[in-house]
Structures are given as C-alpha cells and as structure tokens.
C-alpha cells in the first residue's frame, strides 16, 4: 500500500513543481481561464448568499422589514449559546449523523462486496439497489410516514405478525423512537449511495493481488482487512465525508416525518423555524452560520485525520 502511494506521488506533477515545462504552464493558464466562469457562477449563487447570511447573523433583521436592521454584534450568537432548544437540535443532528453514517458505511460495504462478486444477475441487482436513492426524499419520507403510522402502518403489521412487538409502536410520535425512525429512513435511502461509491473503488483493486493472496493461502477475512480495506480507503473516506456533510445539514427527513418536533429537530430545521416561522432573519442566520462552521470544521478534521488528498496527485 505504502509503495503504491509513493509511486503515485512520484508520478504526480505536483510533487515536482520545478520541472514544469513551458507547455504545462501554458496548459495551466488556459485551465484557469476555463475555470473562471464556474468560479464566477459559484461566487454569485453560493458565495454571495453565504456572505450575506453571515452578515445578517450580526444584525436584528426581520423577514417583515429586511431593510430596517441594525448591527447588534454578537448578541445573536450569545442568545444561541444560551438556547436549550438549539443545543438539543445540535445534539440531535450529531447523533443522527454519527449513527446513520456508521450504519450506512457498514451496510454499504457488505452490499458492495456482495455485488462485486461474480454472481448471476449482477447488473440487475446493481440497478435495483439504486432505487431508494433515485426516489425524491420528500416522496420517500411521506411514504415511510404512512408505513410508520401506528394504526394502519404496514411496519407495525409486519412486526406484530412476526411476534417482534406485542403492541403497535408509535414510531414517529414516541420521543424515544422518533430519531431512530428518521435514521432508519436515511439508512434505507442513502445506503445505495455508499454502496455505489464503495463498489466503484472495489472494481479498481487489481485482481492479481487477490490471486497472490489466494496462492499464499491467506484467509478471506484477513484479505479484506489487509488488502481490500487499505486499497479502497481513499474512496471510502471521500464517501464518508460526503455522507457526514449531508447528514449534518439534514432537513427534509425530520421535517416531513415529524415537523418541528423537538425530538428530531436538526440544526437546519431549527434555523428554518427561526427564519421563516418566527421571521427572525438575524437569529436564524446566526444558526445557519453556526451550522456552516460545524460543517466546515468537520471537513477539516476529516481531511486532516484521514489524510485524504484532494490535490492533483489523486486525480
């Protein structure tokens, strides 16, 4: 593994900037020009709103009169820090992100390993796995809401029939079950995403390595831990980062399944409630800004800890 990485680094142009030829430099210049329009669009649709949100978080702006605001310094952030509901939302979000990403990674790995094996009908299976991912979240959330219903929901019906539970459960209403219910739907929906990314990585692992391992008589479990996992780790890390960032800004699932209920409210649900329901643009922007910071911090931690390289070398 180490050898593989060293080789790829040695080959990458970034590892040896001094040896750039005139042609490479020219190519880079034109690359920059080609990237410019995209950067401009990004600045307009992502940069400007982000800056404006951060700006609003230092004001007392109200949705009813967006012009008549005044700067109030860090008041919004102080109020946010003192708000139990906000910390509840942070806690919910983190709990949701950790549990859902772990389950999705493990399940995604198992399914990907299965699909990677040479079994008949593999193409069909791969397509079928993607169905939950293809359904719009709003639709699947509402569908699950009906399946979770305590009186006529199909889940209770099945579990009662199997003797797993003795009385119908109120999946989305019971405060102890609600977050689990949200995690379950997310797992159902995004495991395919994990599966797909892991599968793509698995298919890049050279078959000779497995062959060598087999000849050496190494047990399949050991092959997985010592060969497969290290080789797919960069791709796996990218997938986990994507999922975690997505999970941290989760909004649609909890909002559709349980509305503004405190049992499942995520940071984004909280921010929306402040911004739209309470028209408190200043305070809601502070919550959004905090959410942005949390996501940014997580990214930095992951990139550092996982030593994932997004530089030119990995492409």
């Amino acid at each position: 593994m180490e050898a593989v990485r060293q080789r790829s680094e040695a080959e990458s142009p970034a590892a040896a900037p001094a040896e750039l030829t005139e042609l490479t430099r020219q190519r880079r210049r034109s690359a920059r020009i080609f990237v410019l329009p995209m950067l401009a669009v990004l600045a307009v649709v992502a940069g400007w709103p982000l800056l404006r949100t951060i700006f609003f978080s230092f004001t007392d702006a109200n949705l009813g009169s967006l012009e008549g605001y005044k700067l109030i310094g860090l008041d919004n952030f102080q109020a946010l820090a003192a708000d139990g509901d906000w910390w509840n939302a942070v806690f919910n979000t983190v709990r949701f992100a950790i549990t859902s990403v772990i389950i999705e990674t493990v399940l995604g790995m198992i399914i990907a390993l299965t699909l990677n094996a040479h079994i008949p009908g593999r193409g069909m299976l791969r397509a079928a796995v993607l169905i939950p991912w293809a359904i719009p979240t709003v639709v699947s959330a509402q569908m699950w809401n009906w399946m979770y219903n305590d009186l006529y929901g199909v889940l209770n019906h099945i579990f009662l029939g199997l003797g797993l539970i003795h009385q119908p459960l109120a999946w989305t209403a019971n405060p102890h079950l609600a977050l689990t219910a949200v995690v379950l739907v997310d797992v159902w929906k995004t495991t395919p995403f994990m599966t797909l990314l892991i599968l793509a990585a698995l298919q890049l692992v050279p078959l000779e390595i497995y062959e060598a391992a087999r000849i050496d008589g190494i047990s399949p479990l050991k092959v997985f831990w010592r060969v497969t996992l290290p080789l797919i780790r960069p791709a796996l890390m990218v997938a986990i980062i994507f999922r975690t960032l997505d999970a941290l800004r989760i909004f649609d699932l909890p909002f559709i399944l349980t509305g503004n209920s405190k049992a499942t409210a995520s940071m984004a649900v909280y921010a929306r409630q402040q911004l739209i329901d309470f028209q408190d643009v200043g305070y809601g922007s502070a919550a959004s800004t905090f959410l942005f910071l949390v996501v940014a911090v997580f990214t930095v931690i992951y990139i550092t800890a996982g030593r994932v390289r997004f530089g030119t070398g990995d492409r």
């Binding site: 739209i276 329901d277 309470f278």
Partner: protein, 428 residues
C-alpha cells in the same frame, strides 16, 4: 447558505406565479389576487375573481402561492416589506393580521359599516389591529367534536357535554369494542403533533376549563393558572389510555384517517371533515354525529378555536378602489353561500346559517351557530409579530406534557417564564 435556498425558493415561487390574463375588454384595470392553492379552493376562488372581473369590466390576474401556509406568509412578508404591488388582494390566515397590519390597507375607511357589521363580531375583531380593519372574512372555522352515533348507542352512552364525560365514555366504548375483537379501537383522536394544530386543540382545552387564552387581550401572560394546568393534565392522561401514542404526531388528516376508517369513537377536527366523512366511500357514512366541543367540567364552557381565512388589500396597490371592491365581492354573502354549497366551508354571516339550501348540505351548521360565533381567538392580536414564537412555545410545552416528559404544572410555569421573557414582561 440556508437563506440562499429560501430566497431561491421564493424567487421561483414569484416567477412561477401563473399569470392568467382573462380574455375580454381592454378597459378597466388589472387587479391581482392571491388565491389559496389547494385543489378545490383554487378553482373556486379563481371562478369568483373572474366573475367579479366580468361584472365590473376590470381584469384579474390570479397569482398562485405556495401550498404551505407558513411559506405563503414568508412570501407575503418579503413582497410587502419591499413595498411591492405584485399582489393587490391577499388571502390571509386569521392569525396573520398582527404580523402584516403595517403593510395592509385600512378597510375601515373604504368599506361601508353595514357591510362589515354583517359578519361575526369575533372575526371582525380578529381582523382589526389597533383599531384598523385590515381584512374582510372569507370563511370561518372552529374546532368541533365528531362522534360515532352507532357506538355511543350500542354502549348506552350519551353525547358527552364535558371532557370528563368524554374521557369515561371513550374508555367504555373502546374497551367494549376491543373485547368484541376490534383491537385497533381507540377512544379519542385529535391533533397532537408539535405544530399550529396542537395550539388550536390545547387552547380549546384550556379555554373550556376557563383557563384563559395564553395571553390576554391586554398582552398579559396568563397561561400559568390552576385551571389551565387541570386541562393539560386531563389531556395528558388520555395518551395511551383513550388516545393512541401516535396522536402525538397526528395532524388533521391523520386524525381523520383514524376516525374515518372506524378506529376511533371521538375526534376533534375542523368542519371540513364532515363532508368527507359522509362521502360515498366512507366506512362511517351515516354513523357520525357532530357537536360542540365539551366543557371543562360543569362550570366550564363550550368553545372552539377560531380559524379561517380573510381578504386583505395591499397598502401599496395602485388600484386601491378596484382592489377593495374585489375583496368586498369575495367576502360577500353570495360568494360565501356558493362556498358553503360547493366546498362545504363555513360562512361568516349569521343569516346564511338559516339558509335552507346550505343547511340541507351541511346540517350541523345551524346547531353549531353559537360555536362558530363564540369561537375563541388565538392570541395573535396582542402578541403581534411574535405570535408564531408564542404559539410554538405553547405547543412545545403542551407536547412535552402529553409525551409525559414534563408534568403539566411545571411545563406551564416554564412556558410562563419563556413568554414573559419573550414579551419583555407583557409589553410585546
């Protein structure tokens, strides 16, 4: 980041607002009106507006708005805060006047007094902010008690007049039916999800016990009182006893689903559920009775939370005269009668409750005239633009008690502190 999404959504909504110019004369002016956007409602409103246009020789532009009422409010607030005259006539919820009043036209000056006086005083009051009449009623709503006539008869129970009676009858019927093999039978379903609907339901419980209206008309926070605690305590005792735990996540339609499929003895809901429960495909057709919500004990009173929609005029409109005329037309007795007949919604004019045609379609309307007239308003007037925060704090406090996380007395005393802080001690 987030506000970017919101802004994009709003922009899209405005851009997509379908503009429907009517064929016809070039004379007159074009007045734009925001109709509700849910199926029957939209077509009904569009027809009404077009009829007005034909009658007066003007033109109307029907602007469609988001389906979710909170998003409609956000859209209106953004438009009005920019002094936009994009929409001349706005359809607003009964709890919005306090939030929007600054940007709405004072109709008190433009509309003859006798036209205003024909509507229920409680609604006119809710539409009046600081002495300014900002909207004319379209229709009214109030919470009602639906019950299963056949089941009450079977178990020899009378229609309950107090919540305590309801609690015991529900238990008797529920237990009897379960013994008879209907495992899924429950006594009472209502709107227990943490949302505006729970505020409506819980306000009814509290008010029926004489526990006030959360915040009194003068702005004083009154929720922390023994009667309110008693009401919330009784409601909390229902969960898992006569109400399924799932009720904690029920909105109107989930409650109706349980009741209409025959799995509940009693249901609290709005009048719209009547027409649907009498539909040809309804398993409980002809087995349903409707009455006023019970009193909170012998000394309590019947009550129902006031709901409904109203027509307001944008202060920045260029066609003030025509816009006011359209708003008046949309809230006129003729339009209200058409609404009662076509989409079964309640008029706000007492004389229509004696109209034979309407009563034939909606028999409960005459009996419940008093309920609609005396409906209790949510404290949106005194709390002004903080109403949504007040409502959210209230429903969360009640939801916590119902879920058994916080006892009623503690929950309401916490709420009292929250509201006092929010209101700067009653000054709002």
């Amino acid at each position: 980041m987030f506000s970017a999404r919101v802004r994009v959504a709003l922009a899209a909504a405005v851009a997509a607002a379908s503009v429907l110019p009517l064929p016809g004369w070039a004379q007159g002016v074009t007045v734009s009106i925001a109709c509700g956007s849910v199926g029957a409602e939209y077509d009904f409103c569009k027809t009404g507006a077009e009829n007005w246009a034909k009658k007066t020789g003007n033109q109307v532009k029907v602007v469609s708005v988001p389906k979710d009422s909170n998003e409609q409010l956000a859209l209106f607030q953004q438009l009005l805060s920019q002094k936009s005259n994009e929409i001349d006539v706005l359809r607003i919820d009964i709890v919005w006047p306090g939030l929007l009043a600054n940007n709405l036209l004072d109709l008190g000056k433009a509309v003859p007094e006798d036209v205003v006086a024909q509507h229920f005083p409680s609604i006119v009051k809710a539409d009046t902010v600081d002495g300014k009449l900002v909207a004319l009623p379209e229709f009214t709503d109030a919470g009602l008690l639906y019950y299963r006539k056949d089941l009450l008869q079977k178990y020899n129970q009378k229609v309950p007049t107090t919540w305590q009676e309801l609690t015991s009858s529900a238990k008797v019927v529920q237990d009897g039916e379960r013994k008879a093999g209907n495992e899924n039978m429950w006594g009472f379903v209502f709107q227990g999800r943490a949302y505006e609907g729970l505020t409506c339901d819980a306000l009814e419980w509290v008010d029926s016990f004489g526990g006030g209206t959360i915040v009194d008309p003068g702005g004083k926070v009154t929720i922390d009182n023994p009667k309110a605690v008693e009401a919330i305590k009784l409601a909390s005792s229902w969960i898992k006893s006569i109400s399924p735990e799932g009720v904690l996540n029920y909105a109107e339609e989930e409650a109706r689903g349980a009741f209409q499929s025959g799995n509940a003895v009693f249901m609290r809901n709005w009048p719209y559920a009547w027409a649907l429960s009498q539909g040809a495909d309804s398993p409980v057709k002809d087995k349903v009775g409707v009455t006023a919500l019970p009193k909170g004990g012998p000394g309590g009173k019947n009550t129902g939370t006031l709901g409904g929609w109203n027509w307001a005029v944008n202060k920045y409109t260029k066609n003030q005269k025509q816009a006011v005329d359209l708003a008046m037309y949309m809230s006129s007795p003729e339009e209200q009668k058409r609404a009662a007949l076509e989409i079964s919604i309640n008029p706000t004019i007492p004389s229509l409750y004696k109209d034979q045609e309407i009563l034939q379609k909606n028999p409960f309307m005459s009996e419940l005239l008093a309920t609609f007239q005396n409906a209790v308003a949510r404290p949106s007037g005194p709390t002004g633009n903080k109403y949504n925060q007040v409502s959210s704090a209230f429903w969360n406090a009640v939801h916590d008690s119902l879920a058994g996380r916080t006892p009623a007395d503690q929950s309401l005393s916490n709420l009292d502190k929250t509201l006092k802080r929010l209101s700067h001690n009653g000054k709002w």
